[in-house]
Structure formats: C-alpha cells, structure tokens
C-alpha cells in the first residue's frame, strides 16, 4: 500500500504494521463468509421494507392526530404538552416559517459566559453553546458548511434528546455530524458524556450542525416531556472576521522598557504560555501556537506591530505570510492531555521585520486583548 507517513519516522512503525497484518489474519479466522453476509443483508432488505412502510403509516397517523389536537386546542407551537415515549414516533417538527422580508426570530441566549461570546441557546435541559454575535452564528465553508457547537445538558438530565431542524426562510436542510455521511437528526444521551462539567453543565457532544448556506434555521430539541425551539441566523465566518477588524490600539513602551506580557503559570498543559486569556500564545524559534480557553468559542483575529521603533509583524510562512492571522472557530474537539473546551490551533510562523518590542492585538467577538513580546528576527 502506498503510504504517506506523517513525517515522524519511527522504528516502532514497522513493528506496528507487521503486527497488525498478522493480527488481522488471526482474528478473522473462522468468521462468517462473504456469501453469508450478502445473504443476511438481502434478508434484512426483504424484511425491512414492509416494516418501514408500516412505520411510515403509523407516523403519518400520529402526526395527523397531533396536528388535529393542536388545531382544536389552538395552543402556541413552541412546546408540546405530551411526552414522547422512547419508542414512539418522534414529535412533529413545529418550527415557524419565515417569509420574504421577515426578520429571522433568533433565539435569545438563556445565559452567557462571562466574556459574552459563547452563548447558551435552548430553554430545555439540553442546550447548545456556540459563538454568537448580534444574533448571528457562523459557519465555516471549508469544513462543509459547519456550525461548531457544544451540546450540553444540565447535570440532572438522564433521558434522550432528539434534535432536528430545517431552514426557515427558504429551501435548505439541517444535518449533523460527518459531512460525507450526514444524519438528519441527532440523538443525545448522557451515556457517553465527554465532560461531566463544563461551565456547570454536562458536555454531551461536539458534533457540528451542517447547513446549506446563509439563512435562518430552526432546531427542535425534544426531550421527555419537553420540546424546545432554537432559531439561528447563520452567516459565513468571513462576516465575523470583518467585524473583528477593529482599530489597532497597541500598548506603548514605558520609556525604554518593553512591557512584556508575563508568562501564565495557570495554563500547564502547554509550556511557556503567555497571556491573560481568553487567548494565549506559546512557542519559539519563529513559530507560535495559539490557545483559546473554553470561554472563547468564536473566531480570533491577531494583528501586531513593533512598538519601540519601525517594524512590521507578519504571520504565516514564506509567500503565505500576511499582516493578520485569522484563527477560525475550528472544532471544539480536544486531544489527549488537553483540557476539555480548550483549543490549540496549528503552529504559525511569526515574522518580525526587525528585532524589537512587538505588541499583538487579539480581537474576538467578546472583546480585545493584547500580548507584548520581545521578538528577535532570525536570518
């Protein structure tokens, strides 16, 4: 097999590969044959189709009954009064339509993190936490039109939540998870909790919401005895970066002293971290790693300049370098050794045009912060 290695040649690799080849042969000895498996799939297809037809019929009757009851009772559509039994057909979607020229009735945050950019949406036990600004949330095109989300629940939640959605102001769908194998609904259960406590809530999932483009989208989160609606106005993340282009207000040197930002010893999973948060930097040798803490979910814009003389600061490598560094929202997934909710961005080149005292302004949806470093230009 042609193999592109990850660049870290390791004598252990060959041992791993040869072991896996031997082990794979040993472990599949005596298993079902391909013919048996094909026959099983055929049999399932034969039995599944009529069963599905029956299910569709049952679902249609149930939906019609619920709609009839609603008309009779003239109830508001946000909540359902009855509890969805675990095996019952899911409750019908009750999301409002948004006509041409109508504003998207975006959900108000039920609470906000201290710095304001990470909002909690949803009025039920299961909520979603995501980056928001002025009622808009942001999707990233290079990640398959994905809105990054943290699905959280209150610590007492013990049931199952079913999340579905659709576009409200035009044609468009909502999917979840894998862009190549998207699911039309998301089922959340506290059986595989990622973190027992993130801001006082259980972190259930980090699967993104996949949409079909900018627009107004509605989500319905059904749990036992409760149905909540969340409405989002989705915009491309480029709009968020444009909003972050605030005027540069860099600190000035104190006399001849460079006001270097002290190291942060509270962040221990990466060494040599500088900054007071929510965005931190570490690195050396002309490269930097950027780190965001759990309160900062949104995109990050970094720009800077020399403050004790003439000098420019560019980010990136070679011809790819630019005067600003755009850190996308990115997945909220954490890796081993990385605390839940923290994000580490790829390493980026930091290229000062001359050695000196440099300040960097870090703009996020929640505000601005500054980091000052002495940088030495290397040949």
């Amino acid at each position: 097999l042609g193999r592109e290695r990850d660049g870290d040649e390791d004598p252990l690799d060959e041992s791993i590969s040869s072991f896996l080849v031997r082990e794979s042969v040993r472990r599949v000895e005596g298993r079902s044959s391909a013919v048996d498996v094909a026959a099983r799939i055929r049999a399932r297809q034969r039995t599944t189709l009529p069963f599905r037809t029956v299910l569709v019929g049952i679902a249609a009757v149930a939906i019609a009954s619920v709609l009839a009851a609603l008309v009779l009772l003239q109830q508001p559509s946000t909540f359902v009064g009855s509890s969805p039994a675990p095996q019952a057909p899911p409750p019908a979607l009750r999301l409002p339509a948004v006509g041409d020229g109508q504003a998207c009735p975006v959900s108000k945050p039920s609470s906000s993190q201290p710095r304001g950019s990470a909002v909690l949406l949803g009025s039920g036990p299961v909520t979603l936490s995501l980056a928001e600004s002025d009622g808009s949330v942001f999707f990233e095109s290079d990640r398959g039109l994905a809105i990054s989300v943290l699905w959280t629940a209150n610590p007492a939640f013990s049931g199952t939540a079913l999340v579905r959605g659709t576009r409200l102001d035009g044609a468009g769908q909502v999917h979840f998870g894998d862009p190549f194998d998207p699911a039309g609904s998301l089922q959340l259960e506290p059986t595989n909790v990622i973190a027992a406590s993130l801001g006082g809530r259980m972190l259930l999932s980090q699967l993104p919401i996949r949409i079909s483009g900018p627009g107004c989208y509605g989500l319905q989160i059904d749990t036992m005895g409760f149905s909540a609606t969340v409405i989002l106005q989705a915009r491309p993340i480029e709009d968020a970066f444009a909003a972050l282009e605030r005027p540069l207000t860099l600190p000035r040197p104190v006399g001849v002293t460079c006001p270097v930002t002290p190291g942060n010893h509270g962040v221990t999973f990466v060494g040599g971290v500088v900054g007071v948060g929510p965005v931190y930097v570490s690195g050396g040798g002309g490269r930097a790693i950027w780190i965001a803490d759990p309160t900062e979910l949104g995109p990050i814009l970094v720009r800077g300049a020399r403050i004790d003389g003439a000098g420019e600061l560019r980010f990136g490598d070679g011809t790819e370098s630019a005067a600003e560094l755009r850190l996308p929202i990115k997945s909220y997934e954490s890796t081993e050794g990385q605390p839940i909710g923290w994000r580490i961005f790829n390493t980026y080149g930091v290229n000062p045009s001359s050695s000196g005292c440099y300040a960097m302004q870090v703009d996020t949806l929640s505000g601005s912060s500054w980091i000052v470093l002495k940088l030495i230009r290397t040949p």
Partner: protein, 175 residues
C-alpha cells in the same frame, strides 16, 4: 435500489451487485474492523452495516472513486461506536473499569506484548493507528475518515505511539 447501479472505481473495477460488493470488500473491511473493536462479532456487525448502507446509498455517491474511503469511514466509526458501547456495558455490569481483552496467553506468543499494548490504547487512538499503519491511509485521509482536524489526528498518533512504547517497555518489539 436498482441492481443496475454500477460503481466505477479508480482502477476501473466495476461493482455490479450487492454480492459483488460484499465479495470484494468484506474480508479487508472485516480485518480493519476487528483491529479497531477487537471483538469479531462486533466487527462483523460493523462491516455488515457499512456494506448495507453503501449499497443502499450507492446512487448518492457523487464521486465513485471515494468508495474505499466511504466504506472505511462507516466501518471504523461503527466499530468505535460498538467498542464504546461494549466498554460502557462492561463497566455498568461489573462495576469496574472497562476490561482489557487479552487472549489467553499462548506460550511463546511473539505478539503477546504488542497485542496487550494495542488493547490498552483508547479506541480512538487504536482506530487512528489501524487506518494509518494498517489500511495505509495518509494522516490527512485518516483525519478526514475519523472526522477530526489534521493536528488532532497527528497528536492522536503521537500519543498512541508514546503509549505503545511505554507499554512495551523493554520487551522486544514484535520479535
């Protein structure tokens, strides 16, 4: 799903029926699945789910050259899901940490140390190792298959190698 659907793959192979698809893909996918989830019965289930889904949705696959990756993606994710479910059930039933599957010690089994070390890896790390070191996917492809960012996958592979090295200690590797 019409039987007439023909999947054209990069090397010009055509797959013209469910039986043909299963015959071509079953064994290689089963090996990947069993290396990830360790339990052969679960591995069979994962592969059956993948092949069934692939055949059902074959007409939706816009780029037929992606069949291989598509199948691996479904198989590995299903294998991870089944492994996590089994670990969770074991923990609930026995009230102890998830077990480590180690086959009865075969005298002079040269792979015993490596097998134990691989079994001790978290399933996400084991899946990354299997896709990269066994199935031959690049780091980028493996990251895409597992639905994680490139840097995350690199970290995961490094962490897995570090754990393997620690677990293997001073024992001869694969000797």
């Amino acid at each position: 799903m019409a039987e007439a659907v023909i999947l054209r793959r990069r090397e010009g192979v055509t797959v013209s029926s469910l039986e043909d698809l299963v015959t071509r893909k079953y064994e290689s996918l089963l090996k990947v699945a069993v290396l990830v989830c360790r339990e052969p019965a679960d591995a069979e289930d994962a592969v059956q789910v993948a092949l069934e889904r692939a055949w059902k949705h074959a007409h939706e696959l816009r780029d037929a050259d992606r069949l291989e990756a598509w199948l691996h993606r479904i198989v590995v994710r299903e294998a991870i899901r089944l492994e996590q479910r089994r670990q969770g059930m074991l923990a609930r039933w026995f009230g102890r940490p998830p077990e480590t599957i180690v086959d009865p010690l075969i005298p002079h089994d040269p792979d015993f140390a490596m097998r134990t070390a691989m079994n001790d890896l978290p399933v996400e790390q084991r899946a990354a190792i299997v896709l990269h070191h066994y199935a031959g996917f690049s780091v980028e492809e493996t990251a895409e298959l597992l639905g994680v960012p490139f840097e995350t996958l690199r970290s995961r592979l490094k962490a897995a190698r570090r754990r393997l090295r620690i677990s293997l200690g001073g024992s001869p590797i694969g000797s």
